[in-house]
Amino acid sequence: MIRLTAFLFLLFPILASAAGGGHDSGHGEAEAKHEVSAKALPLLEHTSWAEWLTNSVFVAGLVTLGLLWFFRSAMQRKALIPGPKQNFVELIVEFLYGQVENIVGAKIAPSAFPLLATIFIYVSVSNWFGLLPGVGTIGFSSHVGALHSTAHVATPLLRPGTADMNLTLGIALCSLIAWLFITIREMGVWGTLLHIFGPKGGLKGGLKYALMPIFFIVGLIEVISILFRPMTLSLRLYGNVFAGENLLHTMSSLVKSGNATIDFLSSVLVPLPFYFLEIMVGVLQGMVFALLCAVFIKLSTTHDEDHDEAHEAH
């Protein structure tokens, strides 16, 4: 609830600014207000071909390399009697596979597991990356120019990947495509359409045909909700992580006594409890994202009674 309130509180100025037609680049305003920028910022500012290389893309790359290194080193000499790293990886994979299998079922689990597990691991690690020292505090500033570290930098060198709508939206779009692929492979095109628009609840006879228009309208609403899924998934994750970044940033600079020692100590001690909160939130958000995707897959690949009867008739 606190996080949601913080997120809405932080999102409100953005929406208000957007409604007012503001097109600020994010550098100057954020620096002036000493806030965390709502968007990821390009590292090579005056290079048009490298606009895509933002601080969050940079961190996403680092996270990717880190995961590559860890999993390669863990599985390089895989053995039936595992070492500590392999054991840890097996623990994660076995736990996640069990969870995915419980939700989507044993038949769909092999095809859905890699994507869902990747979402969970990648989102969780990206979220936790934001808690490392230097993230958001090492970067470039207009009045200094060179790379430096301070409480307020205009363009941080490191920004958590999940604090960038582009990443969260990208993952959500990938999950939508994967959902569509898995659903059509399991149900077929006609089965998918029937699942969305067809009559439900095992209706038969005249009532079935009488209620068909209503089910068709319900199907249209369902399609709209499906199309909104990427937005809800990505905004939920982005909002939580961005709010967390702001929370930590605000807590770090909460006390301004004028005494350098007190300011320093408070900047360390005040955000400390929130770091533990963010550790929990980081893995929780990864789990929520993956679980929602799993539930979406489960809902769309569940054969209803009519469908089962048709299968049995065949």
Binding site: A38, T64, F71, E90, C174
Partner: protein, 165 residues
């Protein structure tokens, strides 16, 4: 569009992030999930095989134990039978030997009795002869005359008649 700009949503950046996420997906699928799930499946199947083998070994063991127990019981019965036969045979042999020994002893006793009788007869004959000669010698010395063969025969006859038992 303003909200998209405020949140920094931009197609090249989305594509860049999708590529990064896709790389992570491929890497984890190739180097983590695939090998680990295959390894877990291998281990699961090995454990299942091991359990099946264990059950088979247990069955074999119980079967072997039953066979061993049956063989042991059979061997015991055979051994008891052999021991009993041996015991019976030994008893029969002992009885035979005992009978033989008794017969032998009786034979020895009979022979000893016969020998004793012969010895007694011989000693008696010798005694009679010595007694007769003693009587003749004594009679000759007492009477002072030389006794003839008729006298000898008469004296022997009378002496023997006196000591005839």
């Amino acid at each position: 569009m303003a909200i998209l700009d405020q949140l920094g949503i931009d197609y090249p950046k989305i594509i860049a992030q999708i590529i990064v996420f896709g790389l992570v997906y491929l890497i984890l699928s190739k180097y983590a999930f695939g090998p680990v799930t295959a390894l877990l499946e291998l281990r699961r199947s090995r454990i299942a095989d091991g359990e099946a083998n264990l059950e088979k070994i247990k069955e074999n063991l119980s079967s072997s134990q039953a066979q061993a127990a049956a063989a042991l019981a059979k061997a015991n019965a055979e051994a008891n039978r052999i021991v009993k036969e041996a015991s019976d045979a030994a008893a029969a042999i002992a009885e035979q030997k005992k009978q033989d020994a008794v017969a032998e002893a009786q034979s020895i006793i009979a022979k000893a009795k016969e020998a004793t009788e012969l010895e007694r007869s011989r000693v008696m004959d010798e005694l009679k002869r010595d007694f007769g000669r003693l009587v003749i010698d004594t009679t000759s010395k007492v009477t002072g005359k030389t006794l003839g063969s008729e006298d000898h025969a008469r004296l022997n006859k009378e002496a023997l008649a006196q000591i005839a038992l």
